[in-house]
């Protein structure tokens, strides 16, 4: 299998790169949805580190998406280059996530979920009220202001396709980072914490510190996707960061398969894809029934596969016998 396997990965990557070129003119919708799925992939792969690997339920992850988006917007209006904004947003996301984590990581499961929910709401309401900074409900950029565009050497990022490749690049990084984290000392420690936090502490894992690393890592991915999306859509307003968005992210991870990269990817496609497909199939006559059906589909899928469609299973390692 090894020889054939060598060709599949490069073939896939090539296909992902070629994909938008085929549809450049005929179907910009396909590229737009693909790009949005990419954004959700980065978000969910980031959140998966907190929920999937460490088992900490987070119901306010959109707060970090918002922090990334708003910092990117404010900096971009004062025409800071995107390639400086990105690390700044990631740093901000990580720091805020770390501060939130300090007092809260000793909380158990559902209590942490509630505190993250509360934090998510606080950020959304603050974004709506802090008119002087975020221009409140009127969103950014204000009248007469413009986001400075991203330019990468000669290319100026304006079309969907530019952002598609930018997002694809970061999706790839998110997948590689998750894979490498999974197969590392830290990854095993995270899963051990999910399995039995007390046993993990007494097996030598500094549970508080390791949890904090995972928690902060998620925050960085959250802020990163916020910064990219702000530049892509060109306008952000508080109504984009509602509680329901955070809940959808959790649903994507759980339905897809917690702690399993392919599972999370499938979950994102399902929960972003199904409403879009329903939009087409239902057309105008049944447009009102889209969300009704979507709710029913969610219940059906989770009852059919409670552990997620692609649950995570530990990879087999080959065993070295010692002479």
């Amino acid at each position: 299998m090894k020889s054939a396997g060598r060709y599949i990965l490069p073939a896939i990557i090539l296909l992902l790169i070629v994909f938008p070129l085929v549809f450049l003119h005929s179907n910009p919708y396909a590229i737009q949805v693909a790009g949005l799925i990419g954004i959700y992939l980065i978000l969910c792969l980031g959140l998966n580190i907190t929920i999937g690997y460490t088992g900490l339920l987070d119901l306010g992850f959109m707060a970090f998406y918002a922090i990334g988006a708003y910092i990117a917007a404010i900096l971009s209006i004062n025409n800071v280059s995107f390639w400086i904004i990105l690390p700044v947003c990631m740093l901000a996301g990580g720091v805020v996530r770390w501060l939130l984590g300090l007092p809260l990581l000793k909380l158990r499961g559902d209590y942490l979920a509630i505190v993250t929910l509360a934090f998510g709401e606080i950020v959304r309401i603050a974004a709506n009220n802090a008119v002087s900074i975020t221009n409140g409900p009127k969103g950014l950029p204000r009248v007469g202001e413009r986001f400075s565009s991203i330019n990468f050497f000669s290319i100026k990022f304006t079309e969907n396709i530019h952002f598609y490749y930018l997002i694809l690049f970061f999706v790839f990084i998110a997948i590689v980072a998750s894979r490498r984290l999974e197969n590392s000392r830290l990854g095993r420690a995270l899963v051990a914490i999910r399995e039995d936090e007390v046993a993990a502490e007494l097996t030598g894992i500094n549970v508080a510190a390791v949890k904090s690393v995972a928690f902060v890592l998620s925050g960085i991915f959250g802020a990163l996707s916020g910064a990219i999306y702000a530049h892509w859509i060109g306008f952000i307003s508080p109504e984009m960061f509602t509680f329901w968005e955070s809940v959808f992210l959790v649903a994507m991870i759980v339905i897809g398969g917690m702690g399993n990269i392919s599972g999370v990817i499938l979950g994102v496609f399902l929960l972003v894809g199904v409403p879009e497909i329903l939009r087409d199939t239902l057309g105008t006559r049944f447009v009102d029934y889209r969300m009704l059906i979507f709710g029913a589909v969610m219940v059906a899928v989770i009852i059919f596969r409670p552990q997620g469609i692609l649950p995570s299973k530990r990879r087999a390692l080959e065993l070295e016998a010692h002479v």
């Binding site: 007092p103 509630i114 709401e121 009220n129 029934y289 029913a296 969610m298």
Partner: protein, 297 residues
């Protein structure tokens, strides 16, 4: 002004408390956050609405109308909650912890849209159930509806306390919430008890819905969402799973909201409410009345 805010806070608090009881009881027995409980609250409100508008002839004698309306709301919401548990949660009894949460989210989306499509997307005005008389004292105005809401919720809470702590079924509920398996070994039909808990929690949620409809005079298919988050916050502040905690949490949140809206800034009253929640949980991770369960090693 202070007295007026206390009155506003207590009325708001009683609705939150009744609403929070549903969350706490379901969490106590299944360790599950029932997101769809806010839709049961909404359905309860609609049930009261139908009852009032369908049977105008009854409004001739309010004495009979009001109890009948609340009874209908309790039964309707209670049955809906039992149905919801049977269809969406029972298959997931053995599933990983987060699965029922996702199922609850699906049910919540489904019910909201069902009500929007089946009834109407527009907000419906609540018919006057009985004429409201106003009393003045110390410069604050209290109306008979506010007093009725406060008294009804207190009565229901006392009944629940008695039911849970004094009756055989109540004991069974407490047993099941401690440990399903052992309770079953003691001959308790766990499924029946869980259905009972959903019925009670659902019924109380339905009553809270009717009170909300009567008090604010308008209902809508998505009316459950915002108070739902608040009621859940109240349940957690009080100590999730603890009935007295939910009641206390409800009133605390109601008063907190009234005072922060009145004295600080109404724009940020929700921020203040959520900030208090985070502070409480940092100081007492189990909530105010929740007991610290230390794990046996």
């Amino acid at each position: 002004m202070l007295i007026q805010q206390i009155i506003n806070g207590l009325t708001l608090g009683s609705i939150y408390a009744l609403f929070a009881l549903g969350y706490t009881m379901v969490y106590g027995i299944l360790l599950m956050i029932n997101f769809a409980h806010s839709e049961i609250f909404m359905v309860g409100a609609y049930c009261g609405f139908w009852f009032l508008s369908m049977l105008p002839f009854l409004s001739a004698f309010p004495g009979l109308l009001i109890p009948a309306m609340f009874l209908a709301a309790i039964i309707f919401s209670g049955v809906l909650a039992v149905l919801m548990e049977r269809v969406a949660y029972r298959p997931l009894r053995r599933a990983p912890r987060l699965a029922p949460l996702i199922s609850a989210i699906g049910v919540s989306i489904f019910l909201q849209n069902l009500m929007m499509l089946a009834v109407s997307a527009q907000s419906q005005p609540y018919p006057e159930s009985f004429n409201i008389t106003r009393f003045q004292f110390y410069g604050a105005t209290v109306n008979s509806l506010q007093i009725f809401i406060f008294l009804l919720s207190i009565v229901l809470m006392v009944l629940l306390e008695i039911f849970i702590h004094k009756t055989k079924v109540g004991q069974a509920i407490r047993a099941v919430s401690q440990n399903h398996v052992v309770a079953q070994l003691m001959g308790i039909d766990v499924n029946k008890i869980i259905a009972m808990v959903f019925f009670i929690g659902g019924g109380l949620g339905g009553v809270a819905g009717v009170l909300n409809g009567m008090y604010y005079g308008s209902i809508k298919y998505n009316m459950g969402f915002l108070p739902g988050i608040k009621a859940f916050t109240a349940a957690v502040v009080g100590g999730i799973g603890n009935i007295r905690g939910a009641i206390a949490g409800g009133f605390i949140l109601g008063l907190l909201e009234a005072f922060s809206a009145g004295y600080i800034s109404s724009e940020n009253k929700n921020i203040i409410a959520f900030a208090v929640l985070i502070l409480v949980l940092m100081v007492r991770p189990g909530g105010l009345f929740g007991e610290e369960v230390t794990e046996k090693i």
